[in-house]
């Protein structure tokens, strides 16, 4: 069954089609969610919530919107970022109360981040890599990044744009190479 038929059946409430979609894409989506929320238990909850959302809102997807992968990707990323923001709020509240947990959480966060972006370390200049990290994986606004890193907003905008284009250039080549390798 090709992708198109799968999607159409999914939109008609076919649970088997949904199951197949899950099998194809859940690893990539789970990986993304994990990079964002870090805690595996939280990641599992977010994945579950995301796929329920995917099931429910499947009829609203249309091919004009882009690929179903990007569509699902956005649902998952948004759910994960929401959780992250909520966690941050709770954490800030804890800091005010004077909890000891804060330090430990920060540590694990840094480690996972390093792993997540590791594939890009030699591909992108650090300043661009930071942009991807803060904006895509941490859900910061550009203004928040400017404040965090103490740099002008304009700089953030320029760097983030360049980072995306670099990333694009890298992965387009990667895909081409892969295609060349496998044909």
């Amino acid at each position: 069954m090709n992708q198109r038929d799968l999607i159409l059946r999914l939109q008609q409430g076919d649970e088997l089609a949904f199951s197949q979609l899950y099998d194809s894409y859940s690893p990539a989506l789970y990986g993304l969610i994990s990079r964002i929320v870090q805690d595996p238990e939280v990641a599992k909850d977010v994945l579950q919530d995301s796929f329920v959302k995917i099931w429910k809102s499947a009829p609203s997807y249309s091919f004009e919107k882009g690929t179903i992968f990007t569509w699902m990707l956005n649902i998952c990323r948004n759910s994960a970022i929401d959780v992250l923001r909520k966690e941050k709020k709770d954490r800030e509240h804890k800091i005010q109360i004077g909890s000891d947990n804060v330090y430990m959480e920060n540590e694990s966060e840094m480690n996972v981040n390093a792993i997540g972006i590791q594939g890009l370390i030699d591909k992108l200049p650090e300043e661009q890599r930071l942009m991807i990290d803060y904006l895509y994986f941490k859900g910061y606004t550009q203004q928040e990044v400017a404040d965090e890193l103490n740099i002008p907003l304009g700089t953030v905008k320029t760097r983030s744009r360049n980072a995306v284009n670099e990333l694009k250039a890298y992965f387009v080549i990667t895909v081409l190479l892969w295609i060349l390798k496998h044909t």
């Binding site: 939109q11 199951s19 990986g31 993304l32 994990s34 099931w55 609203s60 004009e64 882009g66 694009k168």
Partner: protein, 288 residues
Amino acid sequence: MDIKTYIESGIIEGYVLGTISDQERREVECMSSIYPELKQHLSEIQTSFETFVSRMAITPPQDLKYAIMESIAGTEQDLKPGSVQQEIQQKAQENAKIVQMNTQGNVTSFWRMLAAACLLLLVGTTALFIDQAMRKSDLEKNMAQLEKDQQKQQEETSKLQAQIDQREKEEQFILAESTTEIHLTGTEKNPGADVLVLFNADQKAAMLSFNGLPKPAQDKQYQMWLIIDGKPVDLGVLERDPKEKVTMMDLESILKDSINISAIAITLEKVGGNSTPTMDELFVIANI
């Protein structure tokens, strides 16, 4: 819209990174549906991110799949936006809301509204009625007044007309060829007196000018005589306070036949006149 500039603004990258507003997102979606270059740029970035994300794949625990499949098992999918089913669903929701609103005591207010409307109507009607009644009596008053005025006007008009007619008569009389001028001159008692009489035997009328007659005493009045066949004939008393300078006398009855008038005289009699002239009081006389 310069597409190059739009692309260079970094909005597409922002779209993929999730850093732009919802409105900007809609804008990008719209623009890319119009401009193929935009769409291409966008889809290239999206594809590269798909590859990027695939590289960090982690296989989720198997039990998670069972949990997820169970979650969706009885769950309804959302209706497609714009589809017929969705419209029906929306309509049902809207109707439910309306019914809810109506049953929340709106019946009372409806009656109240109706009552208020009736009252208003009643008041309005009464007001209108009263107003009309007032107007009617006003109208009647006005009509009466109008009629009075009209009458007055008519009277005045006929007065005026009479005056005009009179003038015309006098004028005619004066200008008539057969009218003769007779001067009644004063007697010994009144040597300066001179009264002009215009006499017309054909028309059997005479006109008298009061100019030469001084106002008589309170208890006296002038009387005019015609001497016919040696006998005095009463022409009538003259007004004591004449409004007009002249007065016309109709001598029709007196001058029935062509008779011989020998003289015209004016005597001063008592008020009301006398049956025979008091020759002592002869004021003016003229022999014809």
